[in-house]
């Protein structure tokens, strides 16, 4: 009886693994290989082995851009989770009907493409049609200026992009949580206003950390928001990489920058997970 499910699981696992190998590992391997080719300004690249693409990373402003990417993705991830977690809890405390409403709303937000969201925010933040014009109308701002492109416009875009995903990731667990713990805390004298920080945040800690890390990696790869809503000095590594690989047809340099970014991300995640494990002890 037990052998068959195990066998089935093995088959599925093997299939998933081979799909991963073919569609993820093989392209990744090619990317690493291409990152050592020599870019050819007149053509594409020459098949030789050079380090120059990696040297460029440290010789130029690319390392600054990569630090900047890490910073904005990390900040974005923390903000997303800080907003989405209370929302998920609040939604889970509503009646069934309203819970359904919110879940459907959040799901439909996820259907919007990045470009549509970007354009919508561009209009909302513009001085001719958006919030600045509204503030002028209310007499709060005499000479309104467009609020984008700016760092915070980009951050709003990033947070908006991640918000519904994270809320829906946390919601199932929030809905199923054992509410008797919160009741017990109140009975034992915790003020209801502090139940959130004293009980809910600690009991969701592992979930929150894994969701934040997931969001961090997700936001690192976002391309549209920085180009549409950010200033050039907010552009992330993703923008620079696509500029290099597509805009300048310099695939080797683009690949090298992507490999560096991959390594940096892996190290960051590893450090975060180690710190988390250390913190638990």
């Amino acid at each position: 009886m037990t052998a068959r499910p195990a066998y089935g699981a093995f088959c599925i696992g093997l299939f998933a693994f081979s799909a991963l190998a073919v569609f993820f590992v093989v392209p990744l391997f090619f990317m690493v290989v291409v990152s050592f080719y020599k870019p050819d300004p007149m053509g594409f690249y020459k098949v030789t082995f050079v380090w120059e693409n990696y040297q460029k990373f440290f010789a130029s402003f690319y390392y600054k851009v990569s630090l900047r990417s890490l910073y904005s993705s990390a900040l974005g991830a923390v903000l997303v989770v800080a907003l989405a977690f209370p929302t998920a809890i609040a939604v889970s405390n509503l009646s069934r009907k309203w819970q359904l409403f919110w879940v459907i709303l959040l799901l439909s937000l996820m259907c919007l493409s990045e470009v549509i969201i970007g354009f919508a925010w561009l209009i909302i933040l513009s001085e001719s049609a958006g919030i600045p014009r509204l503030l002028e109308f209310l007499g709060l701002w005499t000479n309104p200026r467009s609020l984008s492109p700016s760092f915070w416009a980009m951050m709003i875009g990033l947070v908006f992009l991640g918000f519904s995903v994270v809320t829906l990731m946390i919601y199932p667990q929030a809905a199923k949580r054992d509410r008797s713990i919160e009741e017990a805390a109140v009975t034992l004298g915790t003020p209801p206003s502090r139940v959130f920080t004293k009980v809910l945040v600690p009991s969701f800690r592992p979930t929150l950390i894994s969701v934040t890390l997931t969001m961090f990696v997700y936001l690192l790869g976002v391309f549209v928001m920085p180009t549409m809503l950010g200033r050039p000095k907010d552009w992330t590594m993703t923008v620079i990489i696509s500029d290099k690989a597509l805009g300048d047809a310099n695939l080797p340099l683009g690949a090298a920058l992507a490999v560096v970014m991959l390594v940096v991300t892996a190290i960051t995640l590893a450090v975060a997970l180690l710190a988390e494990r250390h913190g638990q002890r």
Binding site: P39, M42, G43, S146, M228, G247, N250, L251
Partner: protein, 349 residues
């Protein structure tokens, strides 16, 4: 359900591929948006009516992206289009790696109407590209903010734009050449890297005034029309469309000249419709077709002015008699990555 669906899809695909191989049809790509739409609506029908060759018009992305796609296709021995509209930088890079098919000038009698130098010839007398059109980039302004047209490119550096300039992010926009001609007495300064660094440093002085470094034309045009931007660099042809549309925009050729760029037709190496492509190129080079493109698309013709029936008014709408500023493509190709990185560093730091 699913099986039949994919089956019909597969048959449809097979028919499409089979169809392309047998009937006289040309797949022609041009920059997506206004260019591609107008060519398909206004220019190609005349060619089809005359030759019976149907044209399948497709949109191509921004130049370097398209170049990357063409190269990938060439490796797979495929041609995404039989003809493609490219700027000279793409033309020369593609030539270097043998991306373009060889055409016989004898089969394209119409091309003799073009100005000298627009039929690009190999050492063996075969042609690898034919000029398509030229287009200008000018100093555009929002007339609600700046009712007077700027006289010189130097005004871009003046402290009067209320921090609302829009400038292209790529170094081959022509701004380097504008800066060299306006402030350094010509393009010679661009011959050395030190000189280029000085020019880039001059462009960096614009930064406090620039609110949008754009790569997407749509975003720039929308912002300029709405008054979110007051001035910038933009394509003359699309600016003219906005003006005819009644938008508060002016497109000015300053004293130093507008920036002119040439576009060429190329045939990707693996195209199987060389003969039809040659007929097309011959047709497109005729003075009357060049004049028609000037009228409908606002682009600058590349045949001598006296061979066309354009009125003075029509001619001055698409160009100017002032000696234009030319993008120094040889420098951009030579300095390639170095220049792009320096430029990007200047903008993004």
């Amino acid at each position: 359900m699913r099986a039949t669906k994919s089956l019909t899809l597969a048959t449809g695909l097979a028919i499409a591929i089979g169809g392309a191989a047998t009937s006289e049809e040309l797949t022609i790509s041009a920059w997506g948006g206004f260019f591609e739409e107008t060519l398909a609506a206004e220019i190609y029908p005349g060619f089809t009516a005359e030759t019976g060759i149907t044209v399948n018009s497709i949109a191509q992305p921004e130049d370097s992206t398209w170049m990357t796609q063409l190269m990938a296709a060439a490796r797979a021995k495929q041609a995404p289009a039989d003809l493609s509209l490219v700027v000279d930088e793409v033309l020369f890079r593609g030539k270097e790696v043998g991306l373009w098919a060889k055409l016989d000038p004898a089969n394209m009698p119409g091309t003799t109407a073009l100005k000298d130098g627009y039929v690009k010839l190999d050492d063996d007398g075969k042609s690898y590209a034919v000029g398509a059109l030229a287009f200008y980039t000018t100093f555009v302004t929002n007339t609600d903010f700046a009712p007077e047209a700027p006289a010189s490119w130097a005004e871009l550096w003046e402290d009067k734009w209320d921090r609302k300039l829009g400038i292209v992010t790529t170094p081959n926009s022509g701004l380097l050449e504008v800066t060299a001609k306006t402030f350094f007495g010509g393009y010679d300064v661009m011959e050395t890297r030190e000189g280029l660094e000085r020019v880039i440093a001059k462009i960096a002085e614009l930064k406090p005034q620039v609110s949008l470094w754009y790569r997407d034309e749509g975003q720039f045009q929308q912002s300029l029309e709405a008054g979110e931007l007051n001035a910038g660099l933009y394509y003359h042809d699309v600016a003219m469309l906005s003006i005819w549309d009644g938008k508060p925009i002016a497109s000015t050729f300053p004293a130093e000249g507008g920036i002119v760029s040439d576009a060429y037709w190329v045939v990707p190496r693996d195209s199987e419709n060389i003969e039809a492509a040659e007929k097309f190129l011959s047709y497109m080079s005729r003075p009357e077709v060049q004049a028609q493109m000037a009228r409908t698309m606002g682009v600058f013709p590349i045949v001598p002015r006296e061979s066309m029936d354009l009125t003075d008014e029509e001619f001055s709408a698409v160009g100017s008699e002032i000696e234009p500023i030319r993008v120094q493509t040889h420098i951009h190709l030579r300095e390639g990555d170095w220049l792009e990185t320096k430029y990007q560093e200047m903008i993004a730091q």
